[in-house]
């Protein structure tokens, strides 16, 4: 029983990290209808930039600020060079463009900052912590806390500020928003920048866990089932989806894994997503698609 609870809690905590990555997706998808496969690469790039800056002897805070700036510049470039020329193209086209984008970013990241594994120390000690009989990772707790904080900030940003209002307007009805004189390109720039920053946070948390290097960008593959389960257009969905995936994955590895020889985590989340798809083809919180003829 303890083992079960422990697995569950551990899974949920890990899930918050998945949510964080997924939120990056949702933001971009809501605002520009782009399924941004490059999210993982952005995450890698952010983390690498941060670590490199730290290695250059910058203070934590300064490095953080500089990285954020880099991500913003990146967002501007992407909007100008990739999104704007592809406006009004099919979503699949845009998705493929982001595939290309992820290549560019990964290539740049490794070219500029090297391929060796970097240790990333956030000063969070990663020791087991006991809540009664149940062992929880202190790191996971803090990571979950940070994720929660990030989400809260985002919520504020999008509910209380004018940008947020504009963004939601765009998400609801792009044409109407345009007629209201909302600058779509500006919205995209902002959203990609924010997504980049979210990527940075996620990148740092993941990086601290596994060291910062190439396979950090593979985290993106974890986020897809989260999106399917939560729906592409709902931040709430991304959070819930992340928790579901995290928990289910860990429970499955613990209970189903031994029966089939383990190592099922890579696909189990997707398997789960498929089941959800059959029940709700547009995710738990996604908007229903209505066929117009």
């Amino acid at each position: 029983m303890n083992f079960f609870l422990e697995t569950l809690v551990g899974g949920l905590l890990a899930g918050t990290l998945y949510s964080l990555v997924a939120i990056g997706f949702v933001l971009i998808y809501k605002a520009s209808g782009v399924f941004n496969f490059a999210q993982g690469a952005m995450l890698l790039f952010a983390a690498l930039t941060f670590v490199s800056l730290r290695e250059q002897g910058f203070s934590f805070a300064l490095a953080l600020v500089l990285t954020v700036l880099v991500m913003i510049v990146g967002a501007l470039l992407i909007e100008r060079l990739v999104l704007r020329p592809l406006v009004n193209r099919s979503q699949i086209t845009l998705f493929m463009a982001t595939l290309g984008l992820s290549f560019i970013i990964e290539g740049l990241a490794q070219g500029l900052m090297g391929a060796q594994v970097r240790a990333l120390d956030l000063g969070i000690e990663d020791v087991p912590l006991f809540v009664g009989e149940i062992m929880v990772s202190q790191f996971d707790l803090i990571a979950a806390g940070v994720s929660g904080l990030t989400v809260a900030v985002l919520a504020l940003l999008f509910n209380k500020t004018r940008i947020g209002v504009a963004l939601r307007a765009v998400a609801d009805d792009t044409r109407a928003a345009l007629s209201l004189g909302i600058n779509l390109n500006r919205i995209w720039q902002i959203v990609w920048a924010v997504a980049g920053v979210v990527g940075l946070v996620a990148g740092l948390l993941w990086g601290a866990r596994q060291g910062v290097q190439f396979s950090l960008s593979l985290v993106v593959l974890k986020a897809l089932p989260v999106l399917i389960i939560g729906g592409f257009t709902s931040i709430g969905g991304a959070i819930v989806g992340g928790l579901i995936v995290g928990a289910a994955e860990n429970l499955a590895e613990a209970y189903i894994g031994p029966l089939v020889g383990g190592g099922i985590t890579p696909w189990f989340a997707y398997f789960l997503a498929l089941i959800f798809l059959y029940i709700r083809p547009s995710g738990l919180f996604g908007d229903r698609i209505i066929e117009r003829v």
């Binding site: 984008l101 290549f103 560019i104 089932p225 592409f232 997503a273």
Partner: protein, 354 residues
């Protein structure tokens, strides 16, 4: 025109048999001659093993994915998974069915892959767009896992890899570079011909109709769901055979890892760059994606006679590829095939400019 339905169909059977009489263009014949006789004759091991065979196999895979994504409009990022099915199935057949001739084993491998593809295609009736794409990702990871996990598939080899069985046809040994090349080439030519038939047939038109607007397709009497599934099956059949050739004609060995997600992306890029919904595009794309890296690394060796960091070259190449993909999507959504076509037109009218 006032014929009613039954009479209409009846009249089809006695219609003259002259529509799709294919005109064998001398150019095509020449090309085949070069491919079947010329290249084996002058090509050395490097050409055959390192360039021609992988190029042909990738073309075939691209063709397979193009039928599904380019013609039917169902984006799949799980292509490599079905290649794996084909490879392991063919291996299993050769291993467990004694005396089974190679062509039948390949065919069998393809058919099994097709059936698996059919299964994973079932969701396509309910799920569309990205959601469908993610289901193909799921199939990718699942299949990869299956072939890594269950020893039966790789005959309990401790390494989990399958190695090419004796490649022979009617007693002829095909294990030589030339033999493997010819085997691959024959498969590719044959399947290309079939694909050409398909896309010109009613089935092909139905696929394209579904791609362009599936609700309308249903309204005018196209069995959308059936034809989508059909597309999945055919595509997987092609991919399966490509996978078997990849494993046995090219690598000579394979494990689940040989067919990972990156292979799927590679094949997707082949059709993006080459041209969605274009048979020729699959070949051009494959040529591009398999030759450019090699050219680049050679260029690196020449320019800096080996003093260049191979790693940086690789990164540069990655960036280049990404840029190219985006570039194509922006400038030429129909890929290199279209680009070359236009170029040809321009060359044709060129003298007139003066």
């Amino acid at each position: 025109m006032t014929a009613t339905v039954p009479r209409l169909t009846a009249s089809f059977d006695d219609a003259p048999l002259t529509l799709v009489r294919r005109r064998w263009r001398p150019g095509l014949l020449l090309l085949l001659l070069v491919a079947f006789v010329g290249l084996p004759w002058l090509g050395n091991d490097y050409w055959l093993n390192a360039i021609l065979i992988p190029f042909l196999v990738l073309s075939l895979a691209g063709l397979g994915l193009n039928l599904l994504t380019g013609y039917t409009g169902q984006t799949s990022v799980g292509a490599a998974g079905f290649m794996a099915v084909g490879a392991f199935a063919t291996y299993g057949l050769l291993l467990r069915v004694p005396g089974l001739p190679l062509p039948l084993a390949l065919l069998g491998g393809g058919v099994i892959a097709g059936v698996v593809g059919l299964l994973f295609g079932i969701p396509s009736s309910r799920i569309k767009g990205f959601y469908l794409m993610v289901t193909t990702l799921a199939s990718q990871f699942f299949l990869e896992w299956v072939f890594a996990k269950f020893p039966w598939f790789y005959n309990y080899a401790s390494s989990g890899t399958i190695s090419a069985p004796r490649l022979e046809l009617f007693g002829h040994n095909l294990a030589t570079p030339v033999g493997r090349y010819l085997l691959t080439l024959s498969c590719v030519v044959l399947l290309t011909w079939v694909a050409a038939n398909l896309v010109r047939s009613q089935v092909g038109r139905n696929w394209m109709a579904i791609r362009d607007m599936d609700t309308a397709a249903a309204v005018i009497g196209i069995a959308v769901e059936r034809d989508k599934r059909m597309a999945f099956a055919v595509s997987s059949f092609y991919l399966g055979i490509a996978g078997a050739l990849w494993a046995f004609a090219y690598l000579g060995t394979a494990s689940a890892g040989s067919f990972d997600i990156n292979r799927s992306f590679q094949i997707l890029f082949i059709i993006i760059i080459g041209g969605m919904g274009s048979i020729v595009g699959s070949f051009i794309g494959a040529a591009f994606i398999s030759l450019v890296p090699i050219l680049l690394s050679h260029a690196g060796q020449w320019l800096f006679n080996g003093n260049v960091d191979a790693g940086q070259l690789q990164n540069l190449q990655k960036v280049l590829f990404g840029a190219l993909i985006i570039g194509f999507l922006i400038k030429e959504p129909e890929g290199l095939a279209r680009l070359l076509g236009d170029l040809r037109e321009r060359i044709r009218v060129w003298p007139l400019r003066f």
